[in-house]
Symmetry: C2
Subunit: 282 residues, 2 copies
């Protein structure tokens, strides 16, 4: 089974290639775009991959254009894959709020109408997109994942549910406990229904607490600006850090003084994140 | 005489500050914004400044968000100042084309109706903005200038007309001979009128050829992608490089294979440009 992908644009960057593709997603039942950075070839061994998941309102291009990550990926020899944040299109359900519907998929499989028909980002990211990337690009099976805000939730949640898949996970200002904060409660109610027991499978705090004690660990790095306007109400990464401490999970939470929720923060620390992942990927 | 400036936003970035300001410009007779990056303080000596001039359709935020220059500016201790590309506002003349009017000021003083009332970017950049920046920020009088495309034209033209002001100049894909290419001829006809002798004062090829032989030189660095769609029709930086060679002016033109006209190219080489300027600023 071969899925075709269409090259939309490509740009030479740091002696590698920044590309953008469109393809039809069988998980999401719509056309999707993703961006990918291919570093300059180093030797015969295929490079590892770091997935980046973006936050609310973003698509595959925010990180591509604003984070400055390609410089480090080129140096380290890492492929970066930037998916979109939700299914898209006129046929896809949407909402007037910026925090529900298109641009706000929360990386889960929706079960409720009108969302269930397309909003299956969990399947897309765990099953479909990695296979498609593996098929079309010369990459190794070594993978790590990182993200920002809603995408930080996605990165941590996907890694904690699939610890055999990811060698490390990191996040900027992640939503770590979506069951308990306004963004998460609004989205989970809409996508998953009122039965909160169905929400837990997508809550990083719950997932970390529930992993069997014999579970092999992978390291997690979290950066959180202390001038982030969403810190107190939506993010609270110290909750996850405390749960990690209690069970001896290797999680480092760095509180960055004066930094906010923007891509200026991501740009400032993305080098640390990629070097953190590289230590596990090579 | 003190001109007030209004802080619109600020973000911590690489331990310095990315800020955006609004002020009323007496040169342009309208409200203007500019962005500035203030690196972390190094010692008691005030930092030098590098001005960045953007290309057609851009404002002060394109370079700010996409180039990744603040990382290097933070390391080197350089202030970056990003002006807008033209006067702005409902009272300011405009055109339907992307290459004339707002967003396309070409860094000159217009003499023709309806442009002359506001389009005085040359005066704004040489007289007004540097004074305003000097008044509000702790900076040295050491300055260099760089830019992209129309802004590469602006950087080279301003430096060649004011060699005592700038220690170095650099450009990505600059319009070096606007009198002879479609973008320049359209803009100069509109802003300066049909008398082409009035255009020469804004043409870098003409300016470099006309400088007196005893003129003290300053170094110029130009990066040009050979996959730039505008290379043949609009840019032709080899023209300027040949004139520099003929008169022994220190200009390096680097042709970058596979690179295009985008910010992906700028991001790939901006570190080289800032280190080039730093060698003259410190």
């Amino acid at each position: 089974m071969s899925i075709s992908i269409e090259l939309l644009e490509e740009h030479r960057m740091f002696d590698g290639w920044q590309q953008r593709y469109r393809h039809f997603s069988s998980s999401l039942q719509c056309s999707m775009t993703f961006s990918i950075y291919l570093p300059p070839p180093r030797d015969d061994s295929p490079p590892p991959v770091v997935y980046w998941l973006s936050g609310l309102t973003c698509n595959d291009e925010n990180f591509t254009t604003k984070a400055g990550a390609q410089r480090i990926a080129a140096e380290l020899g890492i492929v970066l894959v930037m998916p979109d944040t939700s299914p898209r299109g006129d046929d896809v359900a949407n909402d007037e709020g910026y925090d529900l519907g298109q641009g706000a998929g929360f990386y889960l499989n929706a079960t409720q109408s009108p969302w269930a028909a397309h909003f299956r980002m969990y399947d897309y990211l765990i099953d479909e997109l990695p296979l498609l990337v593996q098929e079309h690009f010369n990459i190794s099976d070594r993978q790590s994942i990182m993200g920002h805000s809603m995408g930080g939730h996605g990165a941590l949640m996907l890694a904690l549910r699939n610890p055999q898949r990811f060698r490390s996970a990191s996040a900027f200002a992640p939503i770590v406990n979506p069951c308990q904060v306004p963004w998460g409660r609004k989205a989970f109610t809409a996508y998953l229904g009122a039965d909160e027991s169905q929400w837990l499978q997508y809550d990083s705090c719950h997932l970390l607490s529930s992993l069997p004690s014999e579970q092999e660990t992978f390291p997690i790095l979290v950066d959180q600006g202390d001038s982030d306007q969403f810190l107190a109400d939506q993010l609270q990464p110290a909750k996850l850090a405390e749960l990690a401490r209690q069970r001896g999970w290797p999680l480092q939470l760095r509180v960055q003084p004066g930094y906010d929720h923007s891509y200026y923060t991501i740009a400032s620390f993305v080098e640390d994140h990629l070097r953190f992942h590289a230590a596990r990927l090579f």
